[in-house]
Symmetry: C2
Subunit: 391 residues, 2 copies
């Protein structure tokens, strides 16, 4: 790590670094009941496992020794930075029980590096991303016996960093807490919530001109709380209108950026190209998240589908999509992310009409499901791959 | 209030409304020491008074009875929406002990209305703003005897609303807590922190092209946490370079928007106008905060300075300011806000050079100090005015 001069939150050598080898362990005396597979309470996304990791940081001393301890509420001052000024960032990842009974994480190094980057964007302290991966593994190891018992099952892991300093001034937090929790999560990619009629497709509603998720020079590329709360109203309005997610457009020309909190992909035929084009928004403007699943999709297309598909990280607009759709050249669309995994898009609502995507019955003929299958095989150990990191 | 159909957080009649008349009171048994006037600990902006107001809301029941109780930490779930998704908003205002020994708030109705608006932007529940004003008054009444003893003194009041529902999904919070705390605050408009050489001016650094505070379609107009944390890094970098605040520019043409967390005003001579022009950014694009002090400055200029000054809420760019400065037409600049009150700008850093504003020794000749004087008289009861609301 290069030394940058008077960065107050810099992990300079005089302060203690985040060090997973100092981990302290306190066994929970109360074991929470584990929900049945597929049970409705998974949809609440708030059933947590028995333990959590916490680690406190102060500007004076740096990082304390991390702890694994019974899951419990935090004591947070009404003056804490994180509840007034959104000094908070997080990661989302999953732990998988493989067909070989081994527990894996999917590319945890990328999530850990991104949390370091996000922390910087909201002036939270730096840490060594490799230590975070060790702490994530430690929590998963602790709780996987009861909570990840079934081969083929998964749980959601949420590392987060919050500014806990009691500071109402416009100031960089002088105290912070890094924590990791594990919760039960439904399978969004194949199931629907209780009371919602089962369908496996995804209906997107394009964002209105007066609502923009992120902007160049802002923080759309970082996984910070500030990107989420302000988008809930649009998300909720979309759901009330019968859609699942907002397709976020940007700029007067309606550039396609993200879908909800997922990355978006479209596959189009281009008369000037010999192969089908897989389009997804580029990272350069820093308005979209550098998704781990997004990156993995692009890499798999390059290594396994190069004969059929050309992956292009490029600006494209909703008019481009509409034109392709009208001309019968919009072949497929899907979203990718940890929460939704990979999910087929069936409809995109643009103004007062729908772009309906033909639903082929044969999943093997579609790229989204094929890529999803490969990723699933890696996550659950059907295929041994460096991305599937054994815990 | 008009009824909007299935808005989950709508304060519909079947649910309990926020009701200050139900206020429950628990006296603190421990009274915290009150810092001396001007003492260094005021600069920490975290010395709180003895009590706080809290009020819980749930999607099922609406608002519980509010409480005044001893100041204490919150118990917040590691899964709470507010620490992951920035479902949080706040207000900043002050309570003043007048020369007549009465305690006043300054236009609290405007802060309360703005909190309702901010809450909506981050999908937090609605409430009756008049009830919030009653709760603020109740807290100030409770703690003003010990904490606002001296005529001419003030404290900072922070109402806030946070989403406490345990929800890691992208969902509107189903639980929230409204709270109000009062803390000691330094007089930024006349003092400097311990160790900083005393000066009453303000040095602004224009924001870089790659960092913007807010954008049209975003939430710059709302007092939500999401506007603050992501701006700390720029703020800190400005301070390290010897400046006090960022002057936030927007767009390719460098529109002048806000200074730090304050509104910005410039007074320029315009050859085509008979009067001096008071320029400040307009509210239409919704990128700046509709500041209570900003609004009051504009209203005072209209009612008391109409012969000398023409107030214009209009787009203007840093190039406009620079041109005016070069031609000797940039007469004065100041910022306004609750935290900084009204403060003269002495320098604006643009690229590699400074726009230095002539520092007249005679404050009576300057508009900023004159307006500040009027506001101060209202706040401290020297002038009886409807804006000074007796608690």
């Amino acid at each position: 790590m290069s030394f940058t001069p008077p960065q107050p939150n810099d992990a300079s050598t005089s302060k203690q670094r985040l060090d997973a080898s100092k981990l302290k362990f306190t066994q929970s005396t109360f074991l929470h009941p584990v929900p049945e597979p597929g049970s409705p309470e998974l949809w609440a996304q708030n059933v947590h496992t028995d333990h959590m990791v916490t680690c406190r940081w102060t500007a004076e001393k740096g990082w304390d020794a991390p702890e694994i301890k019974p899951f419990a509420d935090f004591s947070i001052s009404p003056l804490a930075s994180c509840i007034h000024y959104a000094t908070q960032c997080f990661e989302g990842m999953k732990a998988y029980r493989g067909v070989d009974n081994k527990v894996r994480l999917f590319r945890p190094d990328r999530n850990a590096k991104r949390l370091v980057m996000s922390a910087k964007r909201v002036s939270l302290p730096e840490f060594d991303d490799a230590e975070l991966v060790k702490l994530i593994k430690a929590l998963v190891r602790t709780d996987s016996k009861r909570w990840l018992a079934e081969p083929g099952s998964f749980r959601y892991v949420r590392p987060a960093l919050i500014g806990t300093g009691r500071q109402l001034g416009v100031q960089i937090p002088r105290e912070a807490v890094l924590f990791i929790v594990m919760v039960c999560w439904p399978d969004f990619s194949t199931e629907t919530p209780p009371g919602v009629s089962p369908r496996s497709d995804l209906r997107l509603l394009t964002s209105r001109n007066d609502t923009i998720r992120a902007w160049p020079g802002g923080f759309g590329y970082a996984k910070v709380g500030a990107n989420y709360g302000p988008s809930f109203a649009s998300h909720c309005a979309a759901q009330e209108s019968g859609y699942d997610q907002i397709l976020w457009l940007f700029g007067n020309d309606g550039q396609v950026t993200e879908a909800g909190a997922s990355n978006f992909f479209a596959i189009v035929k281009d008369e000037h190209a010999s192969k089908l084009q897989l389009l997804t928004a580029p990272l350069d403007d820093k308005v979209i998240l550098d998704g781990v699943t997004r990156r993995s999709v692009l890499e798999l297309v390059e290594t396994r589908l190069a004969d059929e598909l050309e992956a292009r990280e490029t600006k494209f607009t909703i008019s481009d999509l509409e034109k392709a759709w009208k001309e019968g050249r919009l072949v497929e669309a899907f979203v990718s992310g940890t929460a939704f995994f990979i999910k087929d898009v069936s409809t995109i609502r643009v103004g007062d009409h729908n772009l309906d995507l033909a639903q082929k019955q044969d999943n093997a003929a579609k790229f989204g499901p094929r890529i999803k299958g490969w990723l699933k095989d890696i996550m659950f150990g059907v295929e041994e791959h460096k991305w599937g990191v054994i815990v």
